[in-house]
């Protein structure tokens, strides 16, 4: 580590005084090239000497450390992720350190712009990742031609490609959002059938009400992200009621004039669909008040007790219950099971809405490349898959790793006519993490739809 002399500091302080008194001369600003050759980060005591005496011959990267910075901090999730690296670490000698922080958005912005990026960052939203594209390494120069195409379907690669052709991310853990959860025991007891069309879904909901049951539970409270539960509904309904082109123009328009407005009939119709379910006081458990105030991670609980019958949530939903129900089982004979959120208009087939983590690389060192390459293999998330929480976007996944329930979800993904990513994660932050969410809360609160949609359109940034 470089040691700066006191003299250097004195000079710096003097120059700062000059800068402060004399004007804006940025005397103290370091040169703008910290990305290259920047040591990972000063916080970790980077071992100058190998930490352990390992036979260097077997481990080409012995003594090196690679830091992955991510958004999730749950102990079980982190452990499963780290476990995936154990064989890799033994083989290469690279110490892979995962650091998670719930203030991920703030930290990644500060660190990349402050010249202190992590080696690799895992983004929950590709839109966020693209904001830091300038600092990220172009992965098409890292992997040989055709390698990524061999590991992923093209649509995953497209979602991490910048307009100028640079590939800045690779996908690692995927989730499927187009699912409706229910309790098989409750369904069996009441003799309900799994609906396969929207009409059947609505008929089933009415039947449940007639039977004195409450069909839906859709709690949305998620702190400063409240609203995302509802936007997932809109996106799923969009994929079922209009063309893929419209979905793409709605989320990531190729040109400003292509943009499908929120106020357009296609989008408005999707809002009305969700309104027909969630604004119906008879349909939702605890009424609209509970939808707005209950915490989203309690979604599954009333299903288990029969207080509510169905909940539309992603493949990760059972994971929220493990804290309170460690023995929870998922499957046709388990405590909970899922069915595919049914199509609405047959012309648009069976689409699937997905989400996932996408990883960008900021420090180009040989060992970082190795870690990133490992992340492009399904093996890296084998423990996460086996824990039953994630689906692999990789082509080299071993279907035996999935349990029965998750294999079904993987198959839904594989059999989909169209796969699209969570739209709010793709839209500009002002909309995707701003007015779209808050507009959803306003709508559930009973406000008029047209002004809400116009307001969202108005908040779409000009560039």
């Amino acid at each position: 580590m470089l040691r700066k002399s006191p003299f250097f500091i004195v000079v710096l302080l003097l120059s700062l005084i000059l800068a402060a008194c004399g004007g804006t001369q940025p005397a103290a600003e370091p040169t703008d090239a910290p990305e290259e050759a920047q040591p990972a980060e000063a916080t970790e005591e980077e071992p100058a000497e190998p930490t352990e005496e390992e036979p260097a011959g077997d481990q080409p990267y012995a003594g090196t450390t690679v830091t992955i910075f991510g958004a999730y901090t749950e102990q079980a999730e982190v452990e499963a992720f780290e476990q995936g690296f154990v064989p890799f670490e033994e083989e290469t000698g690279i110490d892979v350190v995962y650091e998670g922080a719930s203030d991920f958005e703030v930290l990644i912005a500060t660190r990349t712009e402050g010249g202190n990026p992590p080696d690799i960052a895992g983004f929950p939203q590709p839109g966020l990742m693209k904001r830091f594209a300038d600092q990220a390494v172009d992965l098409s120069t890292v992997f040989e031609d055709g390698y990524l195409q061999q590991q992923y379907n093209q649509s995953w690669i497209d979602m991490a490609t910048m307009p100028d052709g640079r590939i800045i991310g690779i996908w690692n853990r995927a989730i499927v959002k187009s699912l409706v959860w229910y309790s098989p025991a409750q369904f069996a007891e009441a003799g309900y059938e799994i609906p396969t069309t929207w009409e059947e879904l609505v008929a089933l909901s009415d039947q449940m009400v007639a039977d004195g049951k409450v069909p839906w539970y859709a709690p949305m409270e998620s702190g400063n992200a409240t609203g995302w539960v509802g936007t997932d509904w809109i996106e799923d309904i969009m994929l079922r009621t209009t063309s893929v082109e419209n979905y793409d123009n709605w989320t990531v328009p190729a040109a400003p004039e292509d943009r499908l407005l929120f106020a357009s009939p296609e989008v408005k119709q999707a809002w009305e669909y969700i309104g027909s379910i969630l604004l119906n006081e008879d349909y939702v458990y605890g009424g609209i008040l509970s939808t707005l105030q209950d915490r989203f991670f309690d979604t599954g609980k009333p299903l288990l007790t029969g207080e509510a019958m169905m909940a539309k949530q992603g493949s990760y939903m059972p994971g929220w219950l493990l804290e309170d129900f460690p023995e929870l089982t998922v499957g046709p004979n388990g405590d909970l099971n899922y069915f595919y959120f049914p199509p609405i208009d047959a012309t648009y087939g069976s689409p699937v809405l997905t989400g996932g983590d996408v990883y960008s690389m900021y420090n180009d060192r040989p060992e970082v490349r190795e870690v990133l390459k490992f992340l492009t293999t399904a093996q890296s998330i084998e423990p996460s898959i086996k824990a039953g929480t994630f689906i692999a976007p990789h082509t080299d996944v071993n279907m035996d790793w999935y349990d029965e329930a998750n294999r079904g979800i993987a198959e839904i993904l594989a059999n989909a006519d169209t796969v699209r990513f969570d739209g709010s994660d793709l839209m500009p932050g002002e909309v995707g993490t701003g007015t779209f969410w808050s507009g959803m809360v306003d709508y559930i609160n009973g406000e008029d739809l047209d002004p809400i949609l116009e307001e969202i359109d108005a908040s779409w940034p000009a560039q």
Binding site: I17, A20, A28, E45, G287, L292, G429, T433, G434
Partner: protein, 371 residues
């Protein structure tokens, strides 16, 4: 202040020249050596693998002794200088370090912020005052500005007056009663923003009328036969609900500072007024309040600025939904979630502009005090 002139000049010009230069050089070495020692200990703390407790100990010694050593060393140097230079330099020994640190950590970034406020979202091209147009025209921003005004008036008004009330009242209680009361009012200050959000989400929680309430306030309201109130969702009251949290948090701050001022008011002064026949309200408004006016100004200014910068309560509780946006929260979102550094910078500058009247007020009172 004329105290600098009290120091008699030592020796003639010539003798200063022969012995003085050497003395100055020697004196200059003192602060430099102090600095060098300090820096070495910093480097030690930065790079060491030593046990945490040892580092903590070194840290404490350096933090406390080190800063003082620097001042004493520099003072020693300045005192060796010839009279006029010494007198001119002395004040800067006192303000210099503060201004240097402020320059590095706040002025330099603030200048950068002002500069960036004229650039686009990605700080790439100059766009004039467009960001300011956004700040004052955008409909969401207009709501934020309105809310900020509400926050400033209500929070500053309530915290300062309740803080003053408590400070005056507890002064009349026994010592242990005073300590207990002050501690209870002060307690919220010790709770982090996230902790406060948990507390208040349980104060405000509303269950449907058919279910038992778990929120304290709605339990009281429904207990008296009322309908549950949606404190955070109802646009008519949600801003007040958030403002109440800030009042709850900040009153302790005002109380602590105002209390020390109240205790500084001499009893003779109050007593004299009473003998002249003033009643308690007159004593309070004509004697007590004017004598602690400088402190009231200080506290009001501080609360005003804290409120301008308030963002965590809003960010955690509503994130600006349902018309509860405030400027600082929007700035945070623009900066980190929306990635629009132009908007964020302009909003930061708006906050800077908002304090200008307060600065004027402070400078005026400063001049009055001096004359």
């Amino acid at each position: 202040m004329q105290q600098q002139l009290q120091q008699p000049e030592k020796g003639s010009f010539l003798s200063w020249f022969t012995t003085g230069v050497g003395r100055v050089i020697v004196a200059l070495i003192v602060p430099i050596i102090t600095f060098a020692i300090l820096w070495q200990s910093f480097v030690f703390m930065r790079d060491t693998e030593a046990p945490k407790l040892l580092i903590a100990l070194v840290a404490l010694v350096v933090g406390v002794v080190g800063v003082w050593a620097l001042y004493i060393g520099t003072n020693f140097f300045i005192e060796q200088l010839p009279g006029r230079v010494r007198d001119a330099l002395r004040p800067y020994l006192f303000v210099g370090p503060a201004m240097v640190i402020l320059g590095v950590f706040l002025i330099y970034p603030a200048i950068g912020t002002i500069y960036l406020s004229f650039f686009d979202a990605r700080s790439e091209s100059f766009i004039g005052v467009q960001n300011y147009a956004f700040a004052f025209v955008d409909s969401a921003m207009l709501i934020a500005l309105r809310n900020n005004l509400l926050w400033i008036i209500l929070v500053t008004g309530f915290t300062v007056s309740v803080g003053l009330l408590v400070a005056v009242l507890v002064d009349r209680l026994s010592q242990w009663e005073e300590a207990a009361a002050k501690s209870l009012i002060f307690m919220p200050m010790a709770i982090s923003a996230v902790g406060a959000s948990v507390i208040w989400s349980f104060m405000y929680f509303a269950k449907p009328i058919t279910q038992p309430q778990i929120g304290t306030l709605n339990a009281i309201i429904t207990g008296f036969g009322g309908e549950p109130v949606l404190f955070l969702l109802d646009k008519a009251i949600n801003n007040f609900a958030l403002i109440a949290i800030q009042i709850w948090l900040l009153t302790g701050f005002c109380m602590v500072i105002l209390s020390s001022a109240v205790k500084g008011v001499p009893d003779e002064l109050l007593e004299a007024a009473r003998i002249d026949g003033a009643n308690e309200f007159q004593v309070f408004f004509r004697i007590l309040v004017p004598s602690i006016m400088p402190t009231i100004l200080t506290v009001s200014t501080t609360v005003f600025i804290i409120v301008l910068k308030t963002f965590d309560i809003v960010y955690v509780m509503t994130n600006g939904r349902r018309d509860t946006e405030v400027v600082a929260n929007r700035m945070f979102n623009e900066l980190f979630r929306f990635g629009n550094s132009g908007h964020a910078s302009a909003l930061a500058v708006v906050l800077l502009l908002a304090v200008l009247p307060i600065i004027y007020w402070n400078l005026r009172s400063l001049r009055e005090q001096r004359s």
